[in-house]
């Protein structure tokens, strides 16, 4: 994509941010989701309400938080409540429109793994674990997942389901008694995947400009279905790109490094 004036990560972030409508109440994971959600707040969705699991409600950080408990989140929030209150009253209470999550791995039914690669009792790689994701994935009215696409990340079968997407597909999620609507979009650096309305299998519905369907298939660990109405993702507009780059420059200046993040 060298001939275009934005990077794959930038179009992923902008595409993810566009999905967040103004006024939405969004439970935000740290890292890519936080970048996309704050970009939405700084561009088309000034009244989006950002909730972080550490307690800030209505956070309006001036730079991207490096950790989920950065002081800036508390200082810019409408209110800061305890972590039990966040999970009990605000998430379990049914007040979250969108859960915005990252993942180490997803499968074809948008289930998420952030726990282990390999067997649980003898892991090849021990990942950080669940954090808030299982209940966010289950209880938000809908869920966006943002992560870079590769065969290692998009696997046919997860070694561990940390957080439920559509489980085995079809109506498995509803039958399990999960109340929230589940994932409605998986946004990657190559395109956007959305669940089929009946089978719930992730289907490629949009490719980013300059990316071929073959590239996306190559980066997917199962036989990826492609929508007959496949679209090309709109290129990021200048306003969004500028806002994103300014935000990241401010963040780098404040933290002295990149803006990837974690929960602790």
């Amino acid at each position: 994509m060298a001939e275009l004036d934005f990077s794959a990560t930038e179009i992923m972030t902008v595409a993810a941010s566009r999905l967040l409508k103004n006024g939405t109440v969004c439970f935000v994971g740290i890292g890519l989701p936080s970048t996309a959600a704050n970009l939405a707040r700084l561009t088309h969705a000034p009244d989006v309400v950002l909730i972080y699991e550490s307690g800030p409600i209505g956070a309006k950080p001036t730079v991207l938080p490096l950790s989920i408990g950065d002081g800036d989140l508390a200082l810019t929030a409408d209110t800061v409540v305890s972590t039990p209150e966040i999970f009990r009253y605000w998430l379990q209470g049914g007040r979250i429109d969108v859960g915005f999550l990252g993942a180490a791995q997803v499968d074809r039914f948008a289930n998420i793994n952030t726990t282990v690669i390999g067997p649980y009792d003898d892991p090849k790689v021990r990942l950080p674990g669940a954090g808030g994701a299982p209940e966010i994935a289950a209880q938000a009215k809908e869920v966006f997942i943002v992560l870079k696409q590769s065969r290692k990340a998009f696997v046919d079968r997860l070694p561990f389901v940390t957080s439920a997407g559509f489980l085995d597909g079809g109506d498995a999620r509803e039958k399990a008694g999960i109340t929230g609507g589940g994932p409605t979009a998986v946004i990657t650096d190559l395109g956007i995947l959305t669940p089929d309305p009946v089978t719930r299998e992730l289907t490629l519905t949009s490719v980013h400009p300059g990316v071929t369907v073959e590239q996306v298939r190559e980066a997917t660990g199962w036989d990826l279905k492609v929508s007959p109405d496949l679209k090309t993702t709109a290129i990021p507009d200048a306003e969004a790109l500028t806002a994103l780059r300014d935000l990241q420059a401010r963040t780098a200046k404040a933290h002295g490094q990149d803006s990837s993040g974690g929960e602790g």
Partner: protein, 292 residues
């Protein structure tokens, strides 16, 4: 009433081998000084409880203080893996570490249940997750009124909880603000508690609904300015992000980690000396010290 006492004495009298110990603080107000003191006093066989075991538990686990870890997210925030935690889980170094793994919602509810003197926490949780398959302490019960299936997990009831806070008054009443995490619940769920504070003042000047932990609900209050470092105390210090980043290469190798812990923790008398040594050596955090 809480005793206002040096941290060394508080740890010596209140933290015992084999205890269940919770050091809480959600990125903010992490009681690092107390973690160091537990390492210095070489406590063993601890069951460590913490929602987000980050550097503070990487150090305790790597130094062999822990038998078991109860947690919901174990990483170096903003950086990546906790290498000592991973080495213990993946390769049983320095010895086997039993893990009991939850979600944040589960842990937060378990602390609330502990503080509420209930045997278990009840929540809508874990549905569809594989966590109940690997953690026998996640079970499901039926609501006696509606028949709904709900998750149940045992309360967290630590023998001792340790937190850091901004202020205490001279009677040992404690005020904290900013991101509060589960600190209040963790203290009230525990048999004993230690609070390290930035400063001790004549009057807390706390508004009526502020988060104040009364002296009579605490065991010990210790004056340890900067005791959350490299975490932060809102209104007093900034998080030293560089330390978290620099911790990664230190914790990657067993020898490098042990040498760092000897130089900075075992060979220092207290947290103030640790900060002085850190400022002089080339270890984590040296690039940004006071006022960073």
């Amino acid at each position: 009433m809480a005793l206002i006492t040096p941290l060394r004495e508080a740890v010596s009298s209140l933290v015992r081998d084999g205890d269940t110990v919770a050091l809480e603080g959600f990125t903010h107000l992490i009681p690092h000084a107390a973690g160091h003191e537990i390492v210095r006093q070489a406590r063993k066989d601890l069951t460590l409880v913490r929602m987000t075991p980050d550097l503070v538990y990487d150090q305790l686990i790597g130094m062999g203080c822990a038998r078991k870890l109860i947690f919901s997210w174990g990483g170096n925030p903003g950086v990546g893996s906790l290498h000592r935690f991973r080495d213990a889980v993946e390769r049983e170094w320095p010895h086997r570490l039993e893990i009991e793994e939850h979600s944040h919602a589960g842990m937060a509810n378990a602390y609330v249940a502990g503080a509420s003197n209930l045997p278990f926490a009840l929540l809508r949780g874990y549905t569809g997750s594989d966590l109940p398959k690997v953690n026998p302490n996640i079970r499901f019960v039926e609501c006696p009124f509606t028949g709904e299936k709900l998750a149940a997990i045992p309360s967290v009831r630590p023998d001792v909880t340790v937190i850091h806070a901004q202020k205490a008054d001279r009677r040992g009443n404690v005020l904290l603000w900013g991101i509060l995490g589960v600190q209040k619940e963790a203290v009230l769920a525990a048999q004993r508690s230690i609070v390290t504070v930035e400063e001790i003042v004549d009057d807390l000047e706390a508004p009526p609904n502020a988060c104040v932990l009364p002296s009579w609900a605490l065991s010990a209050v210790c004056h340890v300015p900067g005791g959350a470092y490299p975490s932060y105390a809102q209104g007093y210090s900034e998080r030293d992000n560089r330390f978290y980043k620099d911790w990664d290469p230190v914790a990657r190798s067993r020898d490098g980690f042990l040498a760092w812990m000897k130089r900075h923790v075992l060979d220092t008398g207290d947290f103030a000396e640790f900060r002085r040594v850190l400022a002089e050596t080339s270890g984590p955090g040296t690039a940004r010290q006071e006022g960073a």
